[in-house]
C-alpha cells in the first residue's frame, strides 16, 4: 500500500516536534527548560507550512481513511493557528509557575496531533482514536496544577464525564457497525441509504454517537464538566479546551453528521436543532449570574457551541446546497470563535497571573492599569457577542445565512432563538466591559506585566478580530470553497 507522505506531513511534523520536545525536556535543566516552548512553536510553524502547501489539493490515502481537501486544510490551519496562540499565552504562565513544562508541551502537541487528524479522518475507528488522542492528554493537562484541589477536581470531572461519553459513543458505534458492517464513513452512508427502512435502534445509535462529540463541544446536557474544568485547569489549558478541543469535537461531529449519517439528516437535524436551542439558551442564562470571569467565559463558550449547532439543525438529506452552507457556517464560526475566545483567555491569563484576580468585580478599572488588555478584552467580548466591526458579527451572519438558504419553519424558530440569545449574551459581555472601563479601580493593584508573547498574541488576535470584522472575506473566501465531501 502506498502512503501519500505529503498528505500526512503536517501530522508527522507535529508528532516529531512532540517527541523532540520530550527529548529536549529530558536534556534541559532549570530555566533552560523554557526553551521547549520555542521548539514547539517552530514545529508548529513547520506543520503550518506543510498544511499550507496542501491547500488546493485533493488527496486521499490509507485506503481513503485519511483525506486532505480544502475543508481539512482550513480546519488544520485553524488548529495549528490556535496552537501557536496557545503556545504564546502558555509560555510565561508555565515557566513562572514551575509546572512540568516539557511534559506540558508534549501533551499539548500530542493533543493537537489528534486534532489535526480529526478533519481528515473518514473512518469511525480513526475518528475514535483521534478523539481519544485529543482527550487523554487534555485530562492530564487539566490536572497539571497538581497541588491545587481545583485542578484535581477539574481533571477528575473532565475525565469521568469524558470517559462516560466516550463509552456511550462507542456503544453507538458498535451498533452502527452492526447495521452497516463497516466503519468507513462513506460506506456507512451508502449502507444506510441502501437499507431503506430506518430502524429506531439505528437512530438511537446515531444519538449515542452524537453524545461523544456533544461532550467535546460541551453541548447541553453534556456540558457540565466544562465550567468546572475551565475554572480549575491552568488557564492556557482552559483556553485550549474551550477552543481547540471544541473545534475538534465539531470536526468529528461534522464528519459523522454530514457524511456518515447524512441520509438520516431528517431525523437527527431537529434533535440537534433542539439541542442547539437548549445549549445557547442555558449557556447564556447561566452565564448571566457568573461572577468568576473564567466561569463566565466557560458558559459563554457553551452558548457559543449552541450557536454553532444551529446549522446542524438545518441539515436535510440530499440537500447539498443547504448542507454545504451549514458546514461552511460552522467552519466560519469556529475560526472566528477561535480568534476571539483565545484572545479573551489571553487577557484573562495576563490579569490572573499577575494579580490572582478572576472575580468579575475585581476587573474594575482594568482600563487604567492596562489599556491594551482592557481594549483587547473589550474587542473580544464584543466580538463574542457579535457586535460590529468584529469577526463575531460575521460568524453569526454566516449562521443566519445558512439558515436562510432555504427557509423552513424550524429555521425561523432557530433564528429567533439566535437573536434573543445574542441579546441576552450582551448582558454579561457588557457587564465585563462596563466593569473594566467604567468602574473605579481598586487601590493598590499592581501593574500588569503581560509579557511579550502574551501581548503579541493578544494584539494579533485583537487586530485579527477587527480586520476580519471589516474584511470577513479573508475567512469566508476560504470557507466558502470548502466542501466536506469533496473527496470524502
Amino acid at each position: 500500500m502506498l502512503i501519500d507522505w505529503l498528505a500526512i506531513a503536517p501530522e508527522i511534523a507535529l508528532t516529531v516536534t512532540a517527541l523532540l520536545v520530550l527529548f529536549a525536556d529530558l536534556n534541559l535543566r532549570g530555566d533552560a527548560k523554557q526553551l521547549v516552548a520555542p521548539i514547539a512553536g517552530l514545529g508548529t510553524v513547520v506543520a503550518i507550512v506543510f498544511t499550507a502547501i496542501l491547500w488546493g489539493d485533493e488527496r486521499a490515502t490509507f485506503g481513503g481513511m485519511f483525506v486532505v481537501n480544502e475543508y481539512a486544510v482550513v480546519f488544520k490551519l485553524l488548529f495549528l493557528g490556535a496552537l501557536l496562540a496557545i503556545l504564546g499565552i502558555s509560555w510565561r504562565f508555565f515557566a513562572e509557575g514551575r509546572y512540568y513544562q516539557g511534559e506540558y508541551y508534549f501533551l499539548l502537541l500530542t493533543s493537537f496531533v489528534g486534532m489535526i487528524i480529526m478533519p481528515s479522518a473518514r473512518d469511525l475507528l480513526l475518528l475514535f482514536v483521534a478523539l481519544e488522542t485529543v482527550s487523554i492528554p487534555a485530562f492530564i493537562m487539566a490536572g497539571m496544577r497538581k497541588r491545587s484541589l481545583y485542578s484535581s477536581e477539574a481533571a477528575l470531572k473532565f475525565f469521568l464525564i469524558g470517559v462516560l461519553s466516550v463509552a456511550l459513543m462507542l456503544f453507538g458505534i458498535s451498533l452502527v457497525y452492526g447495521f452497516t458492517g463497516t466503519t468507513d464513513l462513506a460506506g456507512i452512508a451508502a449502507a444506510i441509504a441502501a437499507a431503506g427502512d430506518v430502524e429506531p435502534l439505528l437512530l438511537a445509535a446515531v444519538m449515542l454517537v452524537v453524545v461523544g462529540f456533544g461532550f467535546k463541544i460541551s453541548a447541553v446536557p453534556f456540558h457540565f464538566w466544562a465550567p468546572d474544568t475551565y475554572a480549575g485547569s491552568p488557564l492556557p489549558v482552559a483556553a485550549m479546551l474551550a477552543v481547540a478541543s471544541k473545534a475538534a469535537g465539531f470536526a468529528g461531529l461534522l464528519a459523522i453528521a454530514f457524511i456518515a449519517f447524512e441520509p438520516l439528516a431528517e431525523f437527527w437535524a431537529p434533535v440537534l436543532g433542539v439541542i442547539a436551542i437548549l445549549t445557547m439558551t442555558l449557556g447564556n442564562l447561566i452565564a448571566l449570574q457568573q461572577r468568576d470571569l473564567i466561569r463566565l467565559l466557560a458558559y459563554s463558550s457553551v452558548a457559543q457551541a449552541g450557536y454553532m449547532l444551529i446549522p446542524f439543525g438545518l441539515a436535510r438529506p440530499g440537500a447539498t446546497v443547504v448542507n454545504d452552507a451549514a458546514v461552511q457556517a460552522v467552519l466560519f464560526y469556529l475560526i472566528a470563535y477561535a480568534v476571539m475566545n483565545i484572545g479573551a483567555f489571553g487577557v484573562a491569563i495576563a490579569v490572573h497571573r499577575r494579580t490572582g484576580i478572576r472575580s468579575l468585580r475585581d476587573y474594575a478599572g482594568l482600563a487604567q492599569q492596562s489599556p491594551l488588555m482592557a481594549m483587547g478584552m473589550t474587542v473580544f467580548l464584543l466580538s463574542l457577542g457579535g457586535a460590529p466591526p468584529t469577526v463575531g458579527l460575521w460568524a453569526k451572519f454566516a449562521i443566519v445565512q445558512a439558515a436562510l438558504t432555504d427557509v423552513t419553519m424550524f429555521a425561523v424558530v432557530l433564528m429567533v432563538f439566535l437573536v434573543v440569545n445574542s441579546v441576552i449574551a450582551f448582558f454579561y459581555y457588557l457587564k465585563v466591559v462596563k466593569t473594566m472601563w467604567m468602574d473605579q479601580a481598586h487601590e493598590g493593584m499592581p501593574a500588569l506585566e503581560p509579557g511579550f508573547n502574551l501581548s503579541l498574541v493578544v494584539i494579533v488576535l485583537m487586530v485579527g478580530t477587527v480586520v476580519l470584522g471589516v474584511l470577513p472575506g479573508l475567512i469566508s473566501d476560504a470557507t466558502s470553497l470548502t466542501s466536506l465531501v469533496a473527496a470524502g
Partner: protein, 205 residues
Amino acid sequence: MTGHDVVFLLVALLTGGAALLTVTSKNLFHAALFLAVTLAGIAGTFLVMRADFLALVQLIVYVGSVAVLFLFGLMLTRAPIGREALDGQNRGLALVVSGTLFVVLSTLIISTFGGERAAEVAGPSIADIGISIFADWVLPFELLSMLLLAALIGAILLARREDGESGEPMPERRIELSDEPVTHAGAQELPAGDSKPELTAGGDR
C-alpha cells in the same frame, strides 16, 4: 437454541452476575476481584464467539494488568471499607437512569436483532487480523502508539511524588480584593499553599 447459545448463556450469566457484584459489593477488594471475574467472563464470551485472539488480549490486558492496576490503586488510596462508604447518595438516581437505559436499549435491540441468527460462528484468523492491522489500520495504530505514550507520560506526571516541579507557583503575597467568593463558599477552606487565587509571581524566577 444451539449448543453455542447454551454455552453462551452460561458464560453470560456468570459475567453478568459478577458485574452486578462488582458494582454492589461492599468490600473494595471483592469488587476488584469480581471485576476480574467479569473481564474473564467477557473473554469467555469472545471464545464462544470464536474470537480467540481477542479473548487472549482481553485476558492478558485486562485480567492480567488492568485489574491488578485497580487493586494497586485501591491499596494505594487506602479506601475505607463498608457499603455506606462505598456508595454515594445517588444510588436511587443511578438505578433509575441505568434501568431506563437498559430497558430502552434492550427493547430496541430485541425489536431489531431479535430474529437474527448466525448459522455458524466463524471469526477471522489471527493472521487476517495481523495483516489487517498493518495494511488497513496502520494510521490509527500509529496514532494509538502516540496516545499510549502520552497516557504513560501523563500518568507518571500526575502520579509521581513531587520533587521540585509541581505546578505550584512560588508563595508570594496574596491579593484579596473581592468580598464575594470566587466560585463557591468552600474557597476559603482551601489548604494553605493552594494556588488559588493565583499569587503575584515575580517577573523572573
